[in-house]
Symmetry: D3
Subunit: 252 residues, 6 copies
């Protein structure tokens, strides 16, 4: 049976639990899902520093459990540096939820918008859209002004209202025909948002799980040519023993 490890790069147990629920809800009946969170790092990922600081504690799961799982989904809505690193580490499919949600969104309408949290994510996600090559299909990235941790702390109605307002503006003003939920912490909200909005709502966690299943079913995995070719053994200093083994013998 296909097995997917969902890795949440932050250290919030509430968000990890919500991500796990969303992943299981999306997974096919035959798929085994496990969800873990970074072993070290801040409780939410709010930008580039948080990504860098939590990267080792995120990648640890790939190093430790790559024999056990068939694919890896990284539940941070960004071009998180752990995604590319994981592709180098393992020959198995490794997907971020941002790229996954965009890959589905383009099948559903002319352009999509991403509704995210803080103003910092707007430029960072514009960069992610650029890097992932979806610029021509992205109508806008809109920051709701929420903090990531608000998503678990605010009253649900207030949360939904804020996100609905941004999504409506994306449709009315930016030409969006599809909305991507721009934070892993929004996983599970899509049903309520669909009830309020007349456009498809794509959750990245669900998208990541389904796309990982699709790749596994087709026997497709990350190309090992150039960008993601296997890493080479090398001298290193100061690393935790687990990562010393990575450079001692990188064969996935």
């Amino acid at each position: 049976v296909p097995s997917i490890l969902v890795v949440n790069p932050n250290t919030s147990s509430e968000m990890t639990a919500a991500i796990d629920r969303a992943a299981r809800a999306a997974a096919g009946p035959a798929t085994r899902i496990a969800t873990v969170c970074a072993t070290a790092g801040p409780r939410s990922i709010e930008g580039a520093l948080d990504e860098a600081v939590g990267a080792l504690g995120t990648l640890e799961w790939v190093v430790r459990r790559q024999a056990e799982f068939d694919a890896f989904v990284f539940a941070c809505y960004s071009a998180h540096p752990a995604i590319a690193a994981a592709r180098e580490l393992t020959g198995k499919p490794a997907l971020g939820i941002a790229e996954a949600s965009m890959a589905l969104a383009v099948l559903l309408g002319h352009r999509f918008s991403i509704v995210t949290t803080s103003p910092r994510w707007k430029p960072l996600l514009e960069d992610a859209v650029l890097l992932y090559g979806f610029r021509d299909r992205c109508a806008s990235v809109r920051a709701s002004g929420l903090a990531v941790l608000d998503l678990k702390a605010l009253p649900p109605d207030q949360l939904i209202e804020t996100l609905v307002a941004e999504a409506r503006a994306a449709v009315a003003q930016d030409g969006a025909e599809v909305i991507c939920l721009g934070c892993a912490g929004m996983a599970g909200l899509e049903a309520r948002l669909r009830a309020e909005l007349a456009v498809p709502i794509v959750d990245g966690v669900a998208a990541g799980v389904k796309l990982a299943e699709a790749l596994l079913a087709l026997g497709l995995s990350t190309s090992r040519v150039n960008a993601y070719r296997p890493i080479q053994p090398r001298e290193n200093v100061g690393l935790p023993p687990l990562f010393q083994t990575v450079y001692a013998d990188p064969t996935p």
Copy 2:
């Protein structure tokens, strides 16, 4: 159970049979697949005229069987005009195999190349890449010089050799890390190509089926805002009775 109608816009029964095999091989155990070909048109789709001439005979299947199927996959590797038309006709997912293959390919490597048949497809597929928004992720479109019907007529070894040569050139000279098979008639060849090449090979028919399943599982469908909003009843002349009903009552 999810059901997908695969529509081959040309009128070749050999190609339809091969597409059907590829679609069934890709489909999950619970998915019902049916494959049909256009009721009118040329035996292969070699460009814009063939697309236009066969469009009605392709769309006929959507009109006739939209109540019966949950999603539609159009098995012509192009931005075939029937795809957008089908999205207007039905609220259900409608995917072309070109867009589907690109949406999976970007998850597998830095850039993909498309290996197609005749020199006419090179500019047409460059336009499709542009329209679908994958320009920044597409390393090249390469025409092998084969005709579409060669794919069923040539000795398999010669066919494989020709495609492998183009794919190798795409990797070595254009920076491709993933290869998309740029013709529905290549469906079923990916196993042999993978054996020869060190990069992922994406077949569009398989990609289309898996992505349709993913959308269905997530309850996602085409946005009905703007580009693909429902069509409006209108006077018309000279149309076959089936299409007269479309304009009489377009509600999907």
Copy 3:
């Protein structure tokens, strides 16, 4: 004497008459103009389905009268699939009015905007702008909310007022310096719009006729290499006899 067949891909006789007037007004004294409308299809072209459904009835004119005319202008403001198909069918110049209007508009100012009818046309024309390569010169596509058939049904003053409001917004907010009339049904309105607006107004029908004349005068015609090379004879099924002859002997 140069002769141009203007083909209206919809089946509205009022619009065909208005297009004919605009074409004749634009044509040089030595040019022979004839205007026809599709032999089958909906009364207006409001999107991709309408284009596909009316394509055969539009192309029929090219097949039937290509010996008689020197050039073909397709009077639908879009990247209508009949345009590329006609270029394959005939070695003679074949122009759409959208591409023609943009080719003139760029000579008149820094950026142009397109003022069109329904919200569906906004994404479709953004795609056309992309395909025709004018993205860097296009300030915006603006949908007035009118239906195509409104253009012949509404009181002229109300029509003008609506279009003027959109055009003014394009100039003031989007940086447009030139306005393209984004529907064949607007042909003939440019004089009144010029009276209201301080920027050049380009009508596509007029642009198409003048550009066809220019190409004819210079002995220039569609390239027969790659994208528009002649079609090849092929087996086919279910086609009207006229199109059977196309595949029997495609030499233009």
Copy 4:
């Protein structure tokens, strides 16, 4: 009758005579053509310095004869600074031959290439393609290595052979379907090149004349909003009397 002043920004009388022949050959029977060359400057325009140095002697013609002519064509294959300046100076159509040739070339095939003279023109014309917004339709700019003045000095056969070789390479290697002659000094060569090549050959002088005629026939002229709005009277020092009048009273 429409009248067009063709201004050659260099000071070569041979090139001016050849440009004049090409302009007259392209013009309609009712059009009055006059061709002049810059009153001061180098004998050929080989780059940005030559353009700047000859700009005043080129613009002088517009200042002096704007009442007498209906449109102006600048016969240097580049984004010559005199073109934009002339649009500010006069409300009448003012076209460069580079932009004109590209505006026609896109109507003839999927992509065009420009075959020009010295290696300096390759980057400069790539910039012109970018500025004019034709980047997505331009397959390549190819420098033949000829100097501008070679075009009048070399034996015709050698000249044709050199240009044909570059054009063939553009078609075979770069995907060009149309060739633009990238120097005013190539005007008149298109017949011989067409005999050698299977693709349309666009001469900018002819294109400029026909497009100027088209604009005049349609009553279209440069937008006076923003980029090309009329200049404002201003203090100035050291200018020739003719240009002092420009700043004294800029009304076109």
Copy 5:
């Protein structure tokens, strides 16, 4: 000691004095600065005509004093034609203040906006951004509606207020994180603007001087391959004696 000649392409002595103060304030203690203005031309550069008309009087300084100075900075915020011409004339660094300010701005934030003067500069600077390759980093070009000469004529408070309002809108509405002062006449205002705004303010004159110093310190100068290769001696007519020498012997 490094020496930089700052050339103001207009003929306003007030602006030249302000530019000189800004250049000296920016220069390192060891750098020699001299500032001159065009010997002929309008008192302000408000568009393409002004640039062309003042080009010779600007380039005169490069011809005359190229042996005496190590680098040249052109103090007009645009892609002024004298910049490329100067690079051809001399092997020494030659920078425009627009390009210089953008090259520093991208080091300071995700995107910059340019706040400029008249509405004509908006399209012209959008073209400059495109040509200099900074399109993906430029949030917007905003015209304040001021005339260039207003910058020296208006009460400073009113001036600052106008510019602050545009800059604030760029940050709030366009996503700018950095502001470039889009006119040489704004040199010296950055301190007051920084006091009002929470984002970095880049003055082009200061940027040009520091970048020229940086290039000189690293022994870097303009590439003499292709775009800026040395000019070739050529026949010429009607030029001032100084420019005749340029074509007589162009070796820098």
Copy 6:
């Protein structure tokens, strides 16, 4: 006096020493330079995993010494995640050598090429070029096939020969007019390369130091709006004490 901390994100002492020499050679006489290497990580940075694994040991220097230095230069030729993280951590200028080299290269010629080491860096640096917004000015990224550590291990002549061959190809085939040295390990080679090649050679370490000096001299620093706004205190787990303090009180 201005002080710059140069941080080498790998752990090779030879490379750190060479980087230090290059930084000191580039620095002005009044600038204080210190160069350090990551406290933990692999001996060379050969891709995304190495970047992620060494990020904490790189950022440690910024946390620890941000009070002591005025600016930070990251000596890895890439869009290393530590650069953006450092900008969030500190209000002071923080530059990567890749972005710095490109910002100078565009001032020197029409297009630059980057000559780098392994084939993995080609896609990664193409992404960096895209992110930094220099795509339109980058002629190519060329991988020499060297490993990073070869740069200190191979005989200098062989090294130079390999790099010169790639650089020559970039000039001759890709249209490069300027070469950027695409690895920190190439610092110090530019003199020998300039002797062999006729185009400017930009070393990123030198560029980073001079641009940091320029920003400091002008009082410019990273924008604290949006992308790089200060981080917020947050709960965290498993981090080294130094980084716990970062989240306890992030004020720089």
